[in-house]
């Protein structure tokens, strides 16, 4: 098609293989956070955290397809409003609106770094108390 080769074709799913997913889900915290977002079956009221189940989902064709779609739809900027529902900072939202995947991922990384720094230094402080 007539799209510019560089902007449109970065597909994160290309690197999300079994080995990669197993490495990421070796962290129990990660498994715990991803578990509630997995597809749920009729008989399940609540999911119990289970690394195998997270791995199975992340390497399933359905998830891989969704991730590829996410990446290929990103440059259009149309994911902006959808991404805004997920408590991102202004940089990330701005990047999503303008359709810049690289800037979006950089912003997520920055937020994660900031959060980790504040987690360790301000652990004792109750959150959101510095209102004026």
């Amino acid at each position: 098609s007539g799209m510019q080769p560089n902007s449109a074709s970065v597909d994160l799913a290309a690197g999300v293989n079994t080995e990669f997913v197993k490495r990421i889900t070796a962290s129990p915290t990660t498994v715990q956070k991803l578990t509630p977002l997995l597809p749920r079956f009729g008989y399940e009221t609540e999911k119990t955290a289970n690394q195998d189940e997270v791995v199975d989902t992340l390497i399933s064709p359905a998830f891989q397809h969704a991730l590829s779609s996410f990446c290929s739809a990103f440059p259009s900027g149309q994911l902006g409003p959808l991404v805004e529902q997920f408590e991102f900072g202004t940089d990330a939202v701005q990047a999503a609106r303008s359709g810049n995947l690289e800037a979006f991922l950089n912003a997520i990384q920055k937020e994660a770094d900031g959060k980790r720094a504040s987690d360790t230094t301000e652990e004792q402080k109750p959150e959101d108390m510095n209102v004026d």
């Binding site: 074709s9 969704a66 991404v83 991922l105």
Partner: protein, 320 residues
């Protein structure tokens, strides 16, 4: 979230799990769908009884169909054959399946309330009106659409379908001793001739399909063949009961049938699982996954790797 606007039909995947569940959710009982990987006689025999075939192929335009093979039915048979013209895009999977189901006459098959009522209601309609009624049926449309992949990225799918290949589904089935092809883009059912006495109809359809595939071969056509067959689990259960009733349930036979039962049960739960995965909204999971990758400092390395891959892919491709 993008919702399906009234009247739109989503693309669905050509997959035996999707088709099997689609048929069940239309309320039709006694059937399942199996994918065929070849036109070998053995592959068809293994699935007997085969009630109909759904053939998916790249649609090159009306000029390619209709050359030499078959003739469009225009006589009174039209009153007996359920044939809807396909008046909307993306619905051809459901159109092909429903056209087949509506024309089945077999003790294993129970059409169900939704489809029987629809068949009754549209009995006197011509093909175009039948197609219109079908595309306006809210029940049928909502079942069809529930099998679409999450429509979150709908615009992406749309732009793809514009450039990319257009696929089309048609069905083949025997009606009153003759082989018919139901293609919603034709004016009527296509008659492929009489089925020889005592022969299974699949012998004839294999020849017709082989000729068609040969015709496409040069241009690397993609095609895919699904068989609508009797529910294999019910069939095995029935055979088992019959053998026991006449005292001929030998250990060998019992083992063979029990094996089929186990396989079919496993297949059903796999279909269910795949369909739940297919219908899930993955956006929250994607977002959290990206955040987790960032926590583990794996996000930007993953992006860099993906970028490298896409650039090497671009380099390899000749400029178009």
């Amino acid at each position: 979230m993008s919702e399906n606007a009234e009247g739109t039909w989503c693309l669905i995947e050509s997959d035996p799990g999707v088709f099997t569940e689609l048929i069940r959710e239309f309320g039709c009982k006694g059937l399942q769908v199996e994918e065929l990987w070849s036109l070998e006689e053995d592959d068809f025999n293994r699935l007997k009884p085969v009630h109909g075939l759904i053939f998916l192929f790249k649609w090159i335009g009306p000029s390619t169909s209709g050359t030499s093979e078959g003739s469009v039915v225009e006589d009174s048979r039209l009153e007996k054959i359920f044939f809807p013209r396909q008046v909307i895009n993306n619905a051809c999977a459901s159109f092909a399946i429903i056209s087949t189901l509506m024309n089945l006459d077999h003790p294993d098959v129970e059409l169900g309330k939704v489809l029987s009522e629809f068949k009754d209601f549209t009995k006197s309609f011509d093909p175009a009106m039948k197609g219109l009624a079908l595309s306006n049926s809210e029940t049928i449309r909502s079942v069809h659409n529930s099998f679409a992949r999450q429509t979150l990225f709908e615009f992406e799918e749309k732009s793809a379908s514009k450039d990319d290949d257009v696929y089309h589904f048609v069905s083949f089935l025997p009606i009153n001793g003759r082989l018919y092809e139901l293609d919603g883009l034709r004016d009527g059912p296509v008659d492929h001739g009489a089925i020889s006495d005592g022969k299974d109809w699949t012998n004839l359809v294999r020849t017709v399909l082989q000729e068609r595939i040969n015709r496409y071969n040069e241009g690397e056509i993609h095609f895919n063949l699904m068989a609508i067959v009797s529910d294999r689990k019910t069939q095995a259960e029935r055979k088992l009961a019959d053998l026991e009733a006449i005292g001929q349930a030998t250990p060998d036979k019992v083992l063979e049938l029990k094996q089929i039962l186990v396989e079919e049960e496993a297949k059903r739960s796999r279909f269910k699982l795949e369909n739940i995965r297919r219908k899930h909204n993955y956006l929250p999971l994607i977002v959290q996954f990206l955040k987790e990758l960032a926590q583990q400092k794996q996000l930007l390395p993953l992006y860099e790797k993906a970028k490298e891959k896409s650039q090497s892919r671009v380099k390899k491709q000749p400029a178009s």
